[in-house]
């Protein structure tokens, strides 16, 4: 049962999410063209860095937050089979997040907040940008509260029963987001806003970077968990089979929640303000958090294999051909897994304590995270949209073939875009440059790759526009959707009971608290004991 409130909430949250996504795709295309240096009249660092900042904020904060909120309302009401708790609160969250987005977008587009999406003090943006970013986060906390309360209410009314997997994962994500957004919230509220308004003259960039690192890696799992929900809860059924194991799926989500939080320092490996031991500790944690992802890879492939064999596939690989490749959810899952495997191995290089020095801040890094974010996560967001958009608008998907073309072109475009980045990174090209100006023989080797990037960007832009067209035409479709219910995959064996601690929100939070104190306690406290010197604000 999807009630009208959560349908409308999902619809409007997703309208904002996908509008932001489309704008960001146009900016992304402009960036690859500008950066290539092939078109003199386009070259402009102010326009480029304003564009990069807006692209990053729209993709990483606006698309994800609104998409996840909309998806969460649908998941909660349909999997728990109860109406939304406090729809008024959910709409308040939506409007606060929206106002935050608009407040941040104005200075971004005007070039008054070209500090990229990681904020980068002591370069200072307009105070409006920081206030908007803070509101965006605060609005999303309303969503977290609703998810946690609905899970707690369900648990009270269903003692001893295991929570439906989709909701288990959603509430894990809400808690993950509450924990991880606290870092950036502290940075913005206590450091950036007072400093941008002129109440404080200086701030400590070392502390700011440490607080941002608190948020910077777990946020990726906040974006990924909805994609994983699709892999676990929609894909097996759409492929014509069953989920391999529900209990291990729950442990995978629990592992992501608990272990993804205290690992942010692998973004600070090259920073001077944290000691080598703390970096090593976070590095070890980063490797541990690969385990739930490897488990996910196994479960999803196993579920696909079951479906393929049920469909008549024989032999070691015969089941791959019998999968329903023409089902957008299944196709997206296969393409996303391919990108996740490649992106995941790139990530292991980034997280490697010493290897990181070779590729830190090079083009390798956007290559890696475009595979994980734009490849794996966004492609599954598309799949979720194709699956659920007809159910929330009540209209039939306008064309299955167009959806398949859109997914394939996105995959091809992302391959064309991210492969040259990985090579350029190994050749030492920095990320975050608007053009190659270095007068050096070494850097001449970088030039041929620019063409592939432009081709990739063009294919991706076309694919993004097609996605928008499909959603728009579906919304305007005259044919009515015949299957309005959301169906979740069944596990191959009925789930047995989990230990009580695995179902208890309190235990999870205590475990996280302990790990966070261990990993961030002294690294943050040191700034109050060391003799630090703060920085004045700088323009750009």
């Amino acid at each position: 049962m999807i009630d009208t409130q959560s349908r409308n909430l999902a619809l409007w949250n997703w309208v904002v999410a996908f509008a932001a996504f489309l704008v960001a795709c146009f900016l992304g295309f402009y960036q690859v063209v500008e950066r290539s240096g092939l078109f003199d009249f386009l070259e402009s660092p102010p326009a480029y860095f304003a564009s990069v900042s807006t692209h990053g904020v729209l993709m990483a904060y606006v698309l994800t937050t609104f998409f996840i909120m909309g998806f969460g309302y649908l998941t909660a009401t349909s999997s728990l089979k109860r109406p939304l708790w406090q729809p008024g609160l959910a709409w308040s969250g939506f409007f606060i997040t929206l106002i935050g987005t608009v407040l941040a977008a104005i200075p971004l587009l005007a070039g008054k907040a070209s500090v990229l999406y990681t904020f980068y003090p002591p370069i200072q943006a307009s105070a409006l940008f920081y206030i908007g970013a803070a509101l965006l986060v605060v609005g999303s906390w309303f969503w977290c509260a609703i998810m946690v309360v609905m899970a707690a209410q369900w648990r009270r009314e269903n003692p001893g029963k295991g929570m439906p997997l989709a909701m288990y994962a959603t509430v894990a994500n809400a808690l993950l987001w509450l924990w991880t957004s606290a870092g950036v919230a502290m940075e913005v509220v206590f450091q950036l806003i007072p400093w941008a308004l002129g109440w404080n003259d200086t701030l400590d960039p070392g502390l700011a970077r440490t607080l941002f690192a608190w948020t910077l890696h777990p946020i990726v799992y906040f974006w990924l968990i909805p994609a994983y929900i699709a892999l676990y809860c929609f894909v097996p059924k759409e492929a014509g089979g069953y989920l391999f194991s529900e209990e291990m799926a729950k442990f995978a989500f629990l592992g992501l929640l608990v272990f993804s939080l205290p690992i942010g320092f692998h973004h600070l490996y090259m920073d001077p303000e944290q000691g080598a031991g703390w970096k090593l500790w976070h590095g070890i944690g980063t490797f541990l958090v690969t385990v739930p992802t490897l488990v996910t890879g196994f479960t999803v492939l196993a579920s696909l294999e079951i479906a393929g064999r049920l469909g008549g596939g024989r032999g070691l690989f015969g089941w791959i051909g019998t999968l329903p490749w023409r089902n957008p959810v299944v196709l997206a899952a296969i393409l996303a897994l391919l990108m996740l495997i490649l992106g995941g191995f790139g990530g292991i290089v980034n997280a490697s304590y010493a290897l990181n020095a070779m590729i830190h801040n090079t083009a390798w890094v956007p290559g890696h995270f475009h595979l994980i974010f734009a490849g794996t996560t966004v492609i599954l967001y598309f799949a979720i949209a194709y699956h659920l958009w007809p159910k929330i608008t009540g209209k039939k998907l306008v064309s299955n073939t167009l959806a398949l073309i859109q997914l394939w072109t996105w995959f091809v475009g992302m391959t064309l875009l991210s492969t040259p980045w990985h090579v350029l990174g190994l050749l030492g090209q920095p990320r975050r440059i608007s053009g190659v100006t270095y007068n050096s023989l070494l850097t001449l080797a970088w030039q041929p790759y620019e063409l592939f990037m432009i081709m990739g960007g063009a294919v991706l832009l076309g694919s993004a526009v097609l996605f928008g067209v499909i959603l728009w035409k579906t919304w305007r479709n005259t044919e009515i959707e015949t299957v309005p219910e959301i169906a979740y995959a069944e596990p191959i064996h009925p789930p047995e009971s989990l230990p009580a601690w695995a179902e208890s929100l309190k235990t999870w939070n205590l475990a996280i608290l302990g790990l966070m104190l261990l990993s961030f306690g002294w690294p943050i406290a040191q700034f109050f004991f060391l003799k630090t010197f703060e920085s004045l604000p700088w323009g750009y």
């Binding site: 090259m270 920073d271 080598a276 090593l280 801040n361 090079t362 608007s434 270095y438 004045l536």
Partner: protein, 171 residues
């Protein structure tokens, strides 16, 4: 609680992979390979008054014990001094401070990389096996002129470098 035997096998493989990756990190630790980390603070606004990062002191130095240190300042838009010459196959300790915003230093095709955060001294020790001219790039967005922030490092054979320096040649 139920774990399928196949799944159990895969879990062991996954944990084995993680152990392998962590093992290689610990091995590299044993031979002294670690990321640059020295929690050392400095007042970026008064660098020219500090002894170490005063303008006269920037550049390549041979310490009394024979170690080679390079003192450099990062500021929009360059690393100063703009050109240094250092010997190949020799451990070199770089120390940087920023006069203004965040910068990052990287020499392509080498593992010489660190962030330069205002208020902190960044230090890296590394060895360059291959002589040649390397660009020293800023790899962290530091303002609209960021693309133009680069200096040059010339790595020469150790003997050539020693010959130049025994004559009291400028670094």
């Amino acid at each position: 609680m139920h774990i399928d035997p196949l799944e159990k096998k895969w879990l062991y493989i996954a944990l084995g992979m993680v152990a392998l990756f962590l093992g290689s990190i610990f091995i590299s630790l044993a031979v002294g390979i670690k990321p640059p980390s020295n929690v050392e603070t400095i007042d970026s606004a008064r660098l020219h008054l500090s002894k170490e990062f005063a303008e006269d002191n920037l550049g390549v130095h041979i310490q009394p014990d024979g170690r080679i240190t390079v003192i450099m300042v990062a500021g929009r838009y360059g690393f100063f001094p703009r050109h240094i010459t250092i010997p190949a196959d020799t451990p070199i300790t770089f120390r940087w401070a920023s006069v203004d915003v965040l910068h990052g230093v990287h020499m392509p095709m080498t593992n010489m990389s660190t962030m330069v955060v205002p208020g902190y001294v960044a230090e890296v020790t590394t060895t360059f096996p291959k002589p040649g001219d390397y660009p020293m790039l800023c790899n962290e967005y530091c303002g609209l002129g960021h693309d133009y922030m680069w200096s040059k490092v010339t790595v020469v054979a150790r003997q050539t470098w020693e010959k130049q320096h025994s004559k009291g040649g400028e670094s």
